[in-house]
C-alpha cells in the first residue's frame, strides 16, 4: 500500500494574481512565449525541448535591462518546465533543468530579483517550487555534479 500525504497546494487559478512590476511582467511574457515555442517538444524525453529553448534563449538580446528581464523569464520558464517534467521521471529532464538553472540563476542574482518575486511570473505553488529550486542549486554546487560540457554546449543525447 502506498502511503502518501498529498499536501494541499494553493490553487494559482483561484488565488489573487500578484501584481508584477513592469520588468517582471516582461519575464512573465517571456515564459508564455517560451511555452508557445517549445512546450510541445517535452514528450519522449527532454532533449528536443532543451534544444528548442536553449536555441531560442541564446538568440535573445541582453543589451538593455528590459532584454535581461525577458531573458530571465525565458530561462526561468525553461528550468521550470524541465523541473516539472522531472517530477514524472522524464528522461533527460534532470540534465535540462540543470542546464537552464545555470543560465537563469546568475542572471536572477545579477538583476537582484528574489525567488519570491520571480516565482509569480509563472503560475504555480511557490512554496514547493522555491524549495525544489534550492535543492537543485545545492546539488549543483556539489563538486563535479550536473555539469554541462566545458564549451557550454548542450549535452548530447546520443
Amino acid at each position: 500500500m502506498v502511503l502518501i500525504f498529498f499536501s494541499c497546494l494553493t490553487s494559482a487559478d483561484e488565488a489573487p494574481k500578484k501584481i508584477l512590476s513592469p520588468m517582471l511582467a516582461l519575464s512573465a511574457k517571456a515564459s508564455l512565449e517560451g511555452r508557445e515555442k517549445c512546450q510541445r517538444l517535452m514528450h519522449e524525453d527532454a532533449v528536443e525541448f532543451q534544444k528548442c529553448a536553449s536555441q531560442w534563449i541564446a538568440k535573445l538580446p541582453a543589451k538593455t535591462n528590459e532584454d535581461r528581464y525577458f531573458k530571465l523569464g525565458a530561462s526561468y520558464y525553461a528550468w521550470l518546465s524541465s523541473t516539472s517534467a522531472l517530477k514524472n521521471g522524464m528522461p533527460k529532464a534532470e540534465e535540462s533543468a540543470f542546464y537552464f538553472l545555470r543560465i537563469f540563476r546568475p542572471l536572477q542574482k545579477k538583476l537582484k530579483v528574489s525567488d519570491q518575486d520571480l516565482c509569480p511570473t509563472i503560475e504555480g505553488d511557490c512554496t514547493s517550487r522555491v524549495a525544489r529550486l534550492l535543492v537543485m542549486e545545492s546539488e549543483l554546487q556539489s563538486a563535479g555534479k550536473k555539469t554541462v560540457n566545458s564549451t557550454g554546449a548542450v549535452p548530447s543525447a546520443n
Partner: protein, 661 residues
C-alpha cells in the same frame, strides 16, 4: 440497509485517501441505486514492463518536505498493485486507459510485437481504452490483431522474414496463443475513409450494480485520439483512415450516450496538456496549457470527466467546457509511473453530483524486481508488486532474449564504427572511449542506407533522396554471432548498433540548407563537443549516392553559420552537382530533425512526413542479405573526402593521421 453499511464504509475509506489532508466533500453518499463509481486510469504505458525500462524516478509529495522527495517509480507489476489497491477500496470500479498502451516500446515488448504488454494489461483488468497515436505505429491490420476478434481465437503475428515465429516472437501466451486484448479499444474520431465507419466503436457503456447487486449507475466511455495523429506516425500506418475533429466526435457520442440514459459520460482521449507543478500528485493545475484546451472549450455539457494522455505528465484539473461547466480533466503520468483514481458520485436522480480525482505514484522499492529496497523517508512506503505480474514480466524478458537471438542477416565481414585512436581518454571528449565520432564509418553508411531505403518505394509519396545519420546515433560494430564470415548476426546485435528507437522523418531541404548542416559538423560547439586527439567535430554520414569533400585547411570551431570547410562544388547526388536553390528530400531521425546533437540546420526542413523506426529500417534492409550466399559486405566509407594540408585527398580510413583535425 445492512448491506449498504460496509459499502459506505468502503467508500469513505477510499475518499479518506484524498480527504485526510485536503478536506472537501465525501463521495459515495448517494442512495442505494446510485452509489459511487471509481474510475482507475492510466495512460502512455508504451510497453514499459520493467522498472528500468525508462528513467526510474519521480518527485513525490511528503508532508513537511515542500520540495518533494525523489523515489523510484514504475514497473508494470508495481502499477498492477496500485490498481488493485485503488480498486479494493471501493465496491464499484473500472480500469480504463487513454491510449499508447503499446508502441514505441522497450525491447522486451517491442520484439514480441507488444504481445507481452497486452497479456499483462489483460491481467491487470484493463477494460476499455482509447487508441493513441502509437497504436497505429504498425498499421490498422496489426492493431486489429492486437485487439483480437473477441472470440478468443489466437492470431499470431504474420510470418515474415525472421518474425512471426510462434513461441519465439509471437503467440507467447499459454499454449503458444495470442488471443488479443480483453479490453475494448475505442476510436470515436478514426474513420475508415472507404466505408465511413469508425475502426472501433466510439463508446462503451458499463452498468454498475447498486448495493443489492442490481441496477446502479451507468457510465458511458468515449475514446479517441488527437486529430493530428497522421502527422506523428508512419504514413503507411494510417493509410485509408481519416482522423476527425475531437470535440465534434465527443459531442456526437456523448449526445447518443445521454439519449440512451447513461448517468455519466467519461471521455478517454489521447491528447493532453501541461502544468507547472514540480511535485507529482498536484491537484491545483497551475498554468494548465496545451492542445487539449481548445478541445475542452468546445465540449458540450454532456461530458463529466476527461481522462487524457499523450503529454506524459500528471494533473488533476477542473476546466470549463463550452457552457462554462467545470469538468474534471486528469492524466496519470506515463511509463507505468502513476495511476489516477476518479470517484464519481450521483444524486438521487442519478445525476453526477461530485467528481473527485487524485493521482497515486507507483513507488517501487528498487530499480529492478529483484534488487534491494532503498530506505525511503518515513511517510513513503513502496508498493509490493503483484507476484503473478512479476513472473509474467520476467518470463517475457527471458523470451525476448531468446527472440533477440534470431538471425536477421549475414555479413562477409564485421561492419565497424571507428574506435578511438590511442590516447583518447575515457571522458566525454572521447564519448566514453567507445567511438571516434569524427570520421565516416562503414556502420554509419549502412545505417544511412537503410534509412533512405525505408523512405523510398511506391508507398512513399515523396521518396527520400539523401539520408544522414550522426555518428552519435551509431553505437557499436555489427559482428557475426559465431565470429566466422560469411556469418549470421542476430536481431539483438543489430538493435545494439542503433538502440535509440528513433522515428524516421523525410523533410524538404535546399542544397544551401544541406551545406549549412554539413558545416555544423565542425562549427562551434560541435568542434569540441566530441573530439578525438586527432579529430574534430561530429560527423554526419550520408547515404549512398551523396558525396562531398571537406577541407581541413579551413578552420574548425567557427561560430555557427560561418564555417567554410565544405567544398560547395564537391557536393554531388549520384554524380550530379547539388544546386543551392534546388529542393531535395532528406531522410533523418526525428532527433536530428529537431536539431539534435548541435545540428540546428535540420530544423529548416519543411513538409515533414514521418516513417517507421530506425531499427525496423535496418531489419527490412537486411531482407536482401539474409543468407550466407547473399551476405552483406561492409562498404569502404568513402562518401566523404577529407583534404589534407596540401589539398590532397586523405586515404579512406586514415583521417586521424591526415591533415588538420
Amino acid at each position: 440497509m445492512k448491506i449498504l453499511k460496509p459499502i459506505l464504509l468502503a467508500s469513505a475509506l477510499a475518499a479518506s485517501i484524498l480527504l485526510s489532508a485536503c478536506g472537501g466533500s465525501s463521495s459515495g453518499n448517494g442512495p442505494v441505486g446510485y452509489q459511487s463509481v471509481r474510475i482507475v486510469a492510466f495512460n502512455d504505458v508504451h510497453g514499459n514492463l520493467d522498472p528500468l525500462d525508462s528513467k526510474s524516478t519521480s518527485v513525490v509529495p511528503l508532508s513537511g518536505v515542500p520540495a518533494g522527495v525523489t523515489v523510484n517509480t514504475g514497473g508494470i507489476a508495481y502499477m498492477g498493485a496500485v490498481v488493485n489497491n485503488l480498486r479494493s477500496a471501493v465496491p464499484n470500479s473500472v480500469v480504463v486507459a487513454a491510449g499508447d498502451n503499446i508502441g514505441a516500446s522497450p525491447y522486451t515488448s517491442n520484439i514480441a510485437h507488444d504481445e507481452p504488454t497486452v497479456d499483462i494489461l489483460n491481467q491487470i483488468g484493463l477494460e476499455v481504452s482509447s487508441v493513441g497515436n502509437h497504436e497505429f505505429d504498425k498499421g490498422l491490420t496489426e492493431l486489429k490483431r492486437i485487439q483480437g476478434n473477441g472470440s478468443g481465437i489466437s492470431t499470431c503475428y504474420p510470418a515474415s522474414g525472421n518474425f512471426g515465429v510462434v513461441g519465439v516472437d509471437t503467440c507467447l501466451m499459454a499454449g503458444k496463443t495470442f488471443s488479443g486484448a480483453t479490453w475494448k479499444y475505442l476510436a470515436a474520431n478514426v474513420v475508415n475513409t472507404a466505408t465511413g465507419q469508425t475502426i472501433f466503436p466510439a463508446a462503451y457503456v458499463k452498468k454498475f450494480p447498486d448495493a443489492n447487486g442490481v441496477n446502479g449507475p451507468t457510465v458511458g466511455f468515449i475514446g479517441l485520439t488527437f486529430k493530428d495523429t497522421p502527422s506523428e506516425v508512419n504514413p503507411t500506418g494510417v493509410a485509408g483512415l481519416t482522423f476527425g475533429d475531437e470535440a465534434t466526435a465527443i459531442n456526437n457520442a456523448a449526445a447518443t450516450l445521454k439519449s440512451q440514459g447513461v448517468n455519466a459520460v467519461v471521455v478517454l482521449i489521447h491528447q493532453g496538456g501541461f502544468t507547472t507543478s514540480t511535485v507529482y500528485g498536484d491537484t491545483t493545475c497551475p498554468g494548465f496549457n496545451g492542445d487539449i484546451l481548445p478541445i475542452l472549450a468546445n465540449l458540450s455539457d454532456n461530458v463529466d470527466v476527461v481522462v487524457s494522455g499523450h503529454t506524459h505528465t500528471d494533473y488533476i484539473c477542473k476546466k470549463p467546457v463550452k457552457s462554462g461547466k467545470l469538468v474534471t480533466v486528469t492524466q496519470s503520468g506515463f511509463y507505468t509511473k502513476g495511476v489516477t483514481a476518479i470517484d464519481l458520485s450521483f444524486d438521487n436522480t442519478g445525476a453526477v453530483s461530485a467528481v473527485n480525482g487524485f493521482n497515486t505514484p507507483v513507488i517501487n522499492p528498487a530499480t529492478s524486481y529483484s534488487a534491494t529496497a532503498p530506505a525511503y523517508p518515513n511517510g513513503i512506503t513502496a508498493v509490493t508488486p503483484v507476484a503473478s505480474l512479476v513472473t509474467a514480466a520476467s518470463n517475457y524478458k527471458s523470451l525476448s532474449a531468446t527472440a533477440g537471438s534470431a538471425v536477421v542477416g549475414y555479413l562477409t565481414a564485421q561492419v565497424n564504427i571507428q574506435a578511438p585512436p590511442p590516447g583518447c581518454t575515457t571522458n566525454n571528449t572521447c564519448d566514453s572511449g567507445s567511438r571516434n565520432k569524427t570520421v565516416e564509418t562503414p556502420m554509419g553508411d549502412l545505417s544511412a542506407d537503410s534509412q533512405l531505403a525505408a523512405m523510398q518505394g511506391a508507398a512513399v509519396a515523396k521518396p527520400g533522396q539523401i539520408s544522414f545519420i550522426q555518428s552519435g546515433g551509431v553505437r557499436t560494430n555489427l559482428a557475426s554471432s559465431n565470429g566466422a564470415y560469411p556469418g549470421p548476426f542476430t536481431y539483438s546485435a543489430l538493435f545494439n548498433t542503433n538502440p535509440f528507437h528513433d522515428t524516421l522523418v523525410a523533410v524538404d531541404m535546399t542544397g544551401s540548407q544541406i551545406k549549412t548542416v554539413l558545416e555544423q559538423q565542425w562549427e562551434a560547439p560541435n568542434n569540441t563537443a566530441f573530439y578525438a586527439p586527432n579529430g574534430v567535430g561530429e560527423i554526419l554520414m550520408p547515404s549512398a549516392g551523396f558525396t562531398y569533400t571537406w577541407d581541413s585547411r579551413q578552420p574548425a570551431g567557427q561560430p555557427r553559420g560561418q564555417g567554410n570547410r565544405v567544398v560547395a562544388s564537391s557536393m554531388m547526388l549520384n554524380g550530379v552537382p547539388i544546386v543551392p536553390t534546388q529542393v531535395y528530400r532528406v531522410v533523418i531521425s526525428t532527433f536530428l530533425a529537431a536539431g539534435g546533437d548541435n545540428f540546428p540546420g535540420f530544423t529548416a526542413g519543411t513538409n515533414p512526413v514521418q516513417g517507421g523506426f530506425d531499427i525496423d529500417a535496418l531489419v527490412k534492409y537486411f531482407a536482401s542479405y539474409n543468407t550466407s550466399g547473399t551476405a552483406y559486405s561492409p562498404l569502404p566509407a568513402n562518401r566523404v573526402t577529407k583534404l589534407d594540408q596540401n589539398g590532397n585527398a586523405c586515404a579512406t580510413g586514415t583521417w586521424n593521421g591526415c591533415g588538420n583535425p
